[in-house]
């Protein structure tokens, strides 16, 4: 399969009031890539997600998807093209049963187009997706009201809602945060399988060890700027990255 540049971010910049959230960041993703974005708190990781998915409009710069610009498009149009995301602060539809949460993406124009007007048994499709992602059908987990589900399932529900859209790019915003080790270890195979299905993934993450098991390339953000890019172990060995993570406190101790 020919390698194809799927998503490209060019010199993107955004400031909120006086705060420079993102400054001239570039990144490039090929189809099937899995990229990690890491950085200390407030380094602009979530803003990056918002910029790519259209939830925040950039001050300057461009986002290209399959060579066409998607900057300035509303979020639902970008999702319609196949770039979707999870939310750091989880946002399930609390008042609905878990499987009904997927009815929303299953009704999107994108799915309608691909299904050619015939959608069939949406509830069935929804439950299948949930089962695939680890909702035990036999234990009736997919039928439970979303507000009654524990955190681990909610994170998966977030991911399932993206999957239901049959996306080409998924951006996971801190999908491991707040999960226990055992919950994470059940999530990792799910993400590996997505990657094998050919979905391009960007993972924003704080849990580095788990992240490095999944990704082969990472980008480090600090104060909105790209600090480093490359293989995880190479990047983490760089002194500027160490400093960003340990803070200038390291220098302070040294002196």
């Amino acid at each position: 399969m020919a390698v194809e540049t799927l998503l490209q971010v060019k010199e993107i910049t955004k400031s909120f009031g006086g705060v420079q959230a993102i400054l001239r960041v570039n990144l490039e993703l090929e189809r099937g890539d899995i990229l990690g974005i890491i950085g200390p708190n407030g380094s602009g990781k979530t803003t990056m997600v918002n910029l790519i998915t259209g939830f925040v409009k950039p001050d300057s710069g461009e986002v290209l998807f399959k060579g066409k610009t998607i900057t300035g498009k509303p979020p639902h149009k970008i999702a319609d093209l196949g770039v979707t995301r999870t939310f750091q602060v989880m946002r399930p539809y609390y008042s609905l049963p878990a499987f009904k949460n997927l009815i929303v993406p299953l009704n999107s124009p994108r799915i309608r187009r691909t299904a050619g007007g015939k959608l069939g048994d949406k509830d069935g499709v929804a439950i299948d997706i949930l089962e695939e992602i680890g909702f035990e059908r036999d234990a009736y987990v997919p039928y439970k009201i979303a507000s009654s589900l524990p955190l681990g399932y909610l994170k998966r529900l977030e991911l399932a809602r993206c999957l239901a859209l049959k996306p080409e790019v998924i951006i996971c915003d801190e999908i491991f945060s707040g999960l226990s080790m055992s919950e994470i270890s059940t999530m990792i195979p799910v993400i590996e399988r997505l990657q094998m299905d050919g979905i391009t993934i960007i993972m924003i993450e704080h849990r580095l060890r788990e992240l490095f098991r999944l990704v082969n390339r990472i980008i480090v953000l600090n104060f909105g700027q790209k600090l480093a890019e490359g293989k995880p172990e190479e990047v983490m060995a760089k002194p500027e990255v160490k400093e960003a993570y340990l803070g200038t406190g390291a220098g302070y101790v040294g002196s």
Binding site: R91, I103, V104
Partner: protein
């Protein structure tokens, strides 16, 4: 209860769900006609009650029933928008006003009969209301409430100021219905049909998407769905219901005037909804059927009725926010008994 403390036997009230609910809401497993009847009985009572009511009432109260029907429609549309889409529309009278004025104008200027003007006014009125609310649809929560609240009041000002549509006098001598039976059964059947259509709708896919928008609109956007288009559809549906009420009203009284934009049409439906139970759809209808006669009985006291239903409203919203319907439903679906601990 003092007796219990004396007997030193501790008891608690145990509640048991009747065993016909299956895991999710609205899905039942029925094993006998008795259970079927048990489920359908409240619905049958409501429908039959509404249909039989005209025979039991005298002329005056038949009129009140018609008015209650209009308020019930407004309450339905308020509840639908507030509980299922998250749009709190304080300007319900705008629906009534636009429906009423359109059918009134068509009848007075073009001479068309009510059976023509009502459907046209319903649809055109809904289009007008949707267009007027369109700029505010992007707003959330209190911002939408504020702007929707201002529109009917400002429309009145505009009508008076420009002296259009008959100005303060309104338009009178419109065609009325041939007999009181048409009066009542027209509105009652529309109330019943809209109630059950809406109940169906909110559990269909469209309703699920609307509820999702209310829960969390960002995620709906991330799912590739334009929330604006769904909000427009929802407002259109709600204003269809409201504008029918207005169009019907204009021919009921044979008169259209600025009082159809008055606060009564905005506040009573809200009171009815809160009293009946937000989000139940049936509750608001029942609330309207209780509140309208009550306010009618107090008509002699002038403004006292507004004060009274505001008091009821506050009482319910503060002390019984679940509303009558949720309370009754819970009681109906559960066995309760005292049990020794």
């Amino acid at each position: 209860m003092p007796n219990e403390q004396l007997t030193s036997r501790e008891r608690r009230r145990e509640r048991l769900d009747r065993g016909i609910k299956v895991r999710t809401e609205g899905l039942y497993a029925l094993s006998s006609w008795k259970e079927m009847f048990y489920l359908l009985a409240p619905r049958i009572v409501l429908i039959l009650g509404l249909l039989v009511a005209p025979f039991l009432l005298d002329m005056y109260w038949q009129r009140v029933l018609c008015a209650a029907g209009i308020y019930a429609l407004l309450a339905l549309s308020f509840d639908f928008l507030a509980a299922y889409v998250g749009l709190v529309c304080l300007g319900g009278s705008f629906f009534i006003g636009s429906g009423a004025y359109i059918s009134g104008l068509l009848n007075a200027k073009m001479g068309w009969a009510p059976f023509l003007t009502i459907p046209i006014a319903t649809v055109v009125g809904a289009i007008v209301s949707t267009l007027v609310l369109l700029p505010c649809l992007r707003l959330r929560g209190i911002y939408f409430a504020i702007t929707s609240f201002m529109f009917p009041l400002l429309t009145v000002n505009v009508i008076i100021a420009l002296n259009i549509f008959g100005g303060t006098e309104g338009i009178s001598a419109l065609a009325t219905y041939p007999n009181p039976w048409v009066d009542q059964y027209l509105i009652l059947s529309v109330v019943i049909v809209s109630l059950f259509t809406l109940r169906r709708l909110v559990n269909e896919d469209m309703g699920l998407i609307l509820r999702s928008i209310k829960d969390n609109d960002q995620a709906v956007k991330a799912s590739g769905i334009s929330i604006l288009s769904y909000k427009i559809k929802a407002v259109f549906i709600a204003s269809l219901i409201g504008c029918f009420g207005g169009a019907y009203l204009s021919h009921l009284y044979g008169w259209v005037g600025i009082s159809q934009f008055s606060l009564d049409f905005s506040i009573l439906p809200i009171a009815a909804t809160v009293m009946g139970g937000m989000g139940t759809l049936v509750g608001p209808v029942i609330g309207a059927l209780i509140l309208t006669p009550l306010s009618e009985a107090l008509r002699g006291f002038g403004q006292l009725r507004v004060v009274l239903y505001c008091l009821i409203l506050i009482g319910f919203i503060v002390y019984k926010p679940e509303g009558l319907m949720n309370y009754l439903q819970r009681k109906y679906h559960q066995f309760e008994h005292w049990e020794d601990v």
